[in-house]
């Protein structure tokens, strides 16, 4: 009867949850004000979203500094880990949210206004993503994943004018639900093998088991199924089938966010589960990551080359980026070396790159997302040279040309891989990068070396140029002075068990 007397509620470290609480508070405030204030000015919604995201990011930065004096720790009955890794992921995601909000505000249509719900979903998805980045329990992780995914399905379907948008939302939804089921089944089998859903608990149980012996079959199948589920979420080949369609159909502002934050969160989850929880079975799952990485790089690069739609190209290129991050994961799986830091660096850089690239897509394609074919980019250098230059910079960054952040990212993962003697994967990755470069060149060629199809002036909304500016500046600054990022990310660690 007296429930409270017989149970001990875990202590909740509210301070450590600040970024999450800010995001949640922002969401509620947004929804409340939106429903209560009759004449809610249009700029207020994105502004509030951005302020919330930046506030959460600032809180995360404060946490980052605090972690200087303290090792990572876990809170709320081990459900959440606060460590350098989770805080970094939080920061990346808040930045992505802020930029995503900027893009979204440029992307609305005039007839239907700028629905408040889009921004609320942006914030809730950030909650999910942050939770995924810091979850120390597979169930919490799964809930975070679902919060993120559901928000994204809706965001993908949110452009009600275009049927493609809703179709992409539906497609994403069904395949995403399919993947979630696999992930969850994997969690169930791992739970069966270890009697725990807590990542630390799993790690401990498995370490004990090594001494005891016994069949690992259930565990391994569970790991496999989880990999399938997470592979879907990070869109690694061969689980990438949904990516191009969904990326193409979704509103571009959403695609940019989807390509960045969702992938970051899924990789964060992947890294934590496998590196922390399944460390003792690393020899069993590492080869699978190897295969996924190489497949992703090659499938992403080669399929991208035959596309005619820039949005689809970028979608495929995001698959090959996923492959590169998996190279980092594979390196991180060797426990010594810098795989973790390299993957984290790649994620941070990739986020900024991809945001900028899609921002340019928005600038070119306009509010209606109509002109995303390669033809629309023909002769862009003649119409808007600065825009073409910015896009070229970002594309070269994606290709991994020196003095751009993309090079730093690729160099980092390759270095991490080489450090642990994974030469095969490094060479495969680099060869894949060359194939990928061909794709980026195609776009560059049509921008600079072909004649424009129209001479219509291209209106670029200010917010979009801001995003492009930030992205390009980041790309170049990190390209020239990588130490700014590397010295910080070098400190990325998981909380000790």
């Amino acid at each position: 009867m007296v429930l409270a007397a017989t149970m001990t509620a875990p202590e909740i470290a509210w301070g450590a949850l600040t970024p999450l609480l800010i995001l949640l508070g922002g969401t509620c405030l947004l929804l409340l004000l939106g429903t209560l204030v009759p004449r809610w000015p249009r700029v207020a919604t994105p502004t509030l979203t951005i302020v919330t995201a930046l506030a959460a990011g600032t809180a995360a930065c404060v946490q980052w500094n605090n972690l200087y004096y303290r090792k990572g720790y876990s809170i709320v009955a081990d459900a959440i880990s606060i460590d350098r890794f989770s805080v970094l992921i939080t920061i990346i995601i808040t930045v992505a949210v802020a930029l995503g909000a900027l893009l979204a505000s440029a992307h609305h249509d005039d007839a239907n206004g700028d629905p408040l719900e889009n921004y609320a979903l942006l914030l809730t998805s950030a909650i999910g993503a942050v939770v995924m980045g810091s979850a120390n329990d597979l169930i919490v992780l799964f809930l975070g994943l679902e919060i993120l995914s559901l928000s994204l399905y809706l965001m993908a379907a949110s452009d009600r004018r275009r049927e493609e948008s809703q179709e992409s939302g539906l497609k994403y939804f069904i395949l995403g639900g399919f993947a979630s089921a696999f992930l969850l089944y994997g969690v169930a089998l791992v739970y069966g093998a270890t009697a725990s859903t807590n990542i630390n608990g799993i790690a401990e149980a498995l370490t004990e088991r090594i001494a005891v012996g016994g069949s690992d079959a259930m565990l391994l199948v569970g790991i496999g199924l989880m990999l399938v589920g997470l592979g879907f979420k990070v869109s690694a080949a061969p689980f990438q089938i949904w990516t191009p369609d969904v990326y193409e159909g979704a509103p571009t502002s959403v695609t940019s966010y989807m390509a960045s934050a969702a992938k970051v969160a899924a990789f964060a989850a992947l890294l934590r589960i496998f590196i922390v929880g399944l460390e003792s079975r690393v020899d069993d799952w590492r080869p699978v990551i190897w295969v996924l990485a190489v497949l992703s790089i090659f499938v992403g690069s080669t399929m991208a080359v035959v596309q005619t739609n820039v949005k689809r190209m970028l979608a495929y290129s995001s698959i090959s980026h996923a492959g590169f991050i998996l190279v980092g994961v594979e390196a991180a799986a060797h426990m010594e070396g810098n795989g973790l830091a390299a993957s984290a660096t790649y994620l941070a850089i990739y986020t900024m790159m991809v945001m900028g690239s899609f921002a340019i897509l928005i600038a070119v394609a306009g509010k209606n997302d109509t002109a995303t074919t390669l033809d629309a980019f023909k002769g862009l250098a003649k119409r808007r040279p600065a825009l073409a230059l910015a896009f070229s910079t970002l594309l070269f960054a994606q290709a991994g040309v020196p003095f751009t952040s993309g090079f730093v990212a690729k160099f980092g993962v390759i270095k991490a891989a080489v450090e642990v003697d994974s030469y095969g994967i490094s060479i495969a990755a680099m060869v894949g990068a060359v194939i990928g470069a061909f794709l980026y060149l195609r776009i560059v060629v049509s921008m600079w070396m072909e004649e424009p199809e129209t001479q219509e002036p291209l209106e670029i909304p200010t917010v979009v140029s801001v995003v492009i500016g930030i992205s390009v500046a980041f790309t170049l600054v990190i390209g020239f002075f990588p130490s700014i990022l590397l010295d910080a990310i070098e400190l990325v660690r998981f909380a000790p068990l």
Partner: protein, 179 residues
Amino acid sequence: MELFVFVVAAAMVLGGALGVITRSNPVHAALSLVLTLFGIAVMFVSHDAQFLAAVQVIVYAGAIVVLFLFVIMLLGVDRTEDVNIEPITVQRPLALIVSAGVIGIVIAAVVTSRDLLGRKVGGLDETTLGSPDANIRQVAREIFGNNVFAFELTSVLLLVAVIGTVLMARRVKSGGAGK
């Protein structure tokens, strides 16, 4: 007795599941789904998970499938899908291979890991099982104890669902774009 329950419930579960994937009429499929859900609920009961059994019926049968049916009826999309048309030739064999593979692998894993299943790791208080509310109390204690964070997260999840329905239900004025 337990065997009897298992056999009946398993028949319900599998029969329902096969119904879902074979019936061409979505309403029939939904009804088959209900059959499966009840079978699962029975199995929950035989695992002393009465709370889950009740929630299973309330949430799945009472809300989820009702919503399905509601949507089917509201939109009038109950037209029969011709299950004999195969869109891509390799799709079905491929799907069969994949799902049979999953089943086979998991079964193999389960069978070889039988030794793991017997071990009692604790956490389930079996001494109180006799009292009427034992299961519910334990589940509650666990949810509001160690899993309180996850519980709070579900509120965010539901918030997303609410926002989503509002967004999707909003009528749109054509902005000129699109087809």
